[in-house]
Symmetry: C2
Subunit: 164 residues, 2 copies
C-alpha cells in the first residue's frame, strides 16, 4: 500500500461516482470534436453576446454587418452584399430599408448598371458604425478571452482560410 498517493479520486466510491457536471461529461462525446458543432456553438454564443451589446443602439448583428460593409469603402451592390453575407436578396432589401430609414446608409445608383444600387454610409451612419464597432470589439474580446493574442491571430487565419 503506497503511502504517497494522497489525492486520487477514489474510483471505488459507490454512489456519487459522477460528481462532474453534464457539460464536462459531454465534452467526451464525439460530437464535441466536430468542427461543425464547435463553430455552431461559437457563432451562437458570439452572436447572442454581440446582439446584447448592440441592443442599446437598436441594432442586431445582421444590421451591423450591412452597415459595416457600407462604411468599408468597398461600394457593394445589394446583390454582392447578399452573396458576401449569405443573405437572400429579399433580406438585403429589408435590412437596407431599416438602415436607410434611420438615415445611416443611402442607395446610390450605379453609373455602370442602372439596375443595381450601391450602398454607401452617411455621416450619421459612420458615427453609428463607430459606436457599434466598439461594442462588437468588446464582444470579440470577451468571446476570445481564453486565447492569447497569438492564438487569436491563428484562429482568425485558420477561419479565413476555410471561408475564403
Amino acid at each position: 500500500m503506497p503511502p504517497s498517493t494522497p489525492a486520487a479520486p477514489a474510483p471505488s466510491a459507490e454512489k456519487s461516482a459522477t460528481p462532474e457536471t453534464s457539460e464536462e461529461r459531454f465534452q467526451q462525446s464525439p460530437l464535441a470534436r466536430e468542427v461543425a458543432f464547435l463553430t455552431a456553438r461559437a457563432r451562437g454564443r458570439g452572436n447572442a453576446l454581440a446582439n446584447q451589446l448592440l441592443a442599446d443602439l437598436d441594432l442586431k448583428v445582421r444590421h451591423f454587418s450591412v452597415l459595416a460593409m457600407a462604411c468599408s469603402g468597398t461600394k457593394p451592390s445589394q446583390r454582392e452584399l447578399g452573396e458576401f453575407l449569405d443573405l437572400d436578396p429579399s433580406q438585403v432589401v429589408a435590412l437596407v430599408d431599416v438602415l436607410e430609414g434611420r438615415g445611416a446608409i443611402r442607395r446610390e445608383p450605379d453609373p455602370r448598371d442602372r439596375r443595381s444600387k450601391i450602398l454607401v454610409a452617411t455621416e450619421a451612419g459612420r458615427e453609428l458604425y463607430a459606436q457599434a464597432a466598439e461594442r462588437t470589439r468588446q464582444a470579440e474580446e470577451q468571446t476570445l478571452r481564453a486565447l492569447s493574442p497569438a492564438e487569436r491571430d491563428q484562429l482568425r487565419e485558420l477561419l479565413a482560410k476555410i471561408v475564403f
Copy 2:
C-alpha cells in the same frame, strides 16, 4: 522602358481598373477580419453542406446532434441536452419526438429523478447514426480541405478553448 516586366497588372489602366471579384474586394473590409463574421460564415456554409449530405437520410444537423448525443453513452437528460446544444427545452421535445417516432432513440426514466428523462439510442438509432456520421465526416473533410491535418487539429483546439 524595362523589357523584363511581363505580367504586371497594368495599374494605370483607365476603365477596367477593378477586374477583381467583389468577394476579393470585400476581403479587405474590416468585417472580414472579425472572428464573429468568420465563424458565422463558417457555420453557415458547414451547416448547409451537412444538411445537404444528410438529406437522403431524412435528417438535419439538429436531429443529428441529438442522435449523436443519445449514441454517445453520456446519458443526457433532455434539459442537459438543451443546454449543451443551445436548444430551448421545447425544441428538444420536438426533435426527440421526431427521432423517437422513427424508432431511433428512447426516453428512459431517470431512477434518481422521476421528472427527467434520459435519452438513449436504439439499435436502429445506432445504425442510423453510423450512416449519418459518415456523411458529416465527409462534410467536415470538404469544409476543411484548405487546411493541413495539423491546422485542422489547431482549429479544433482553438475553438474548443473558446466554447468550453
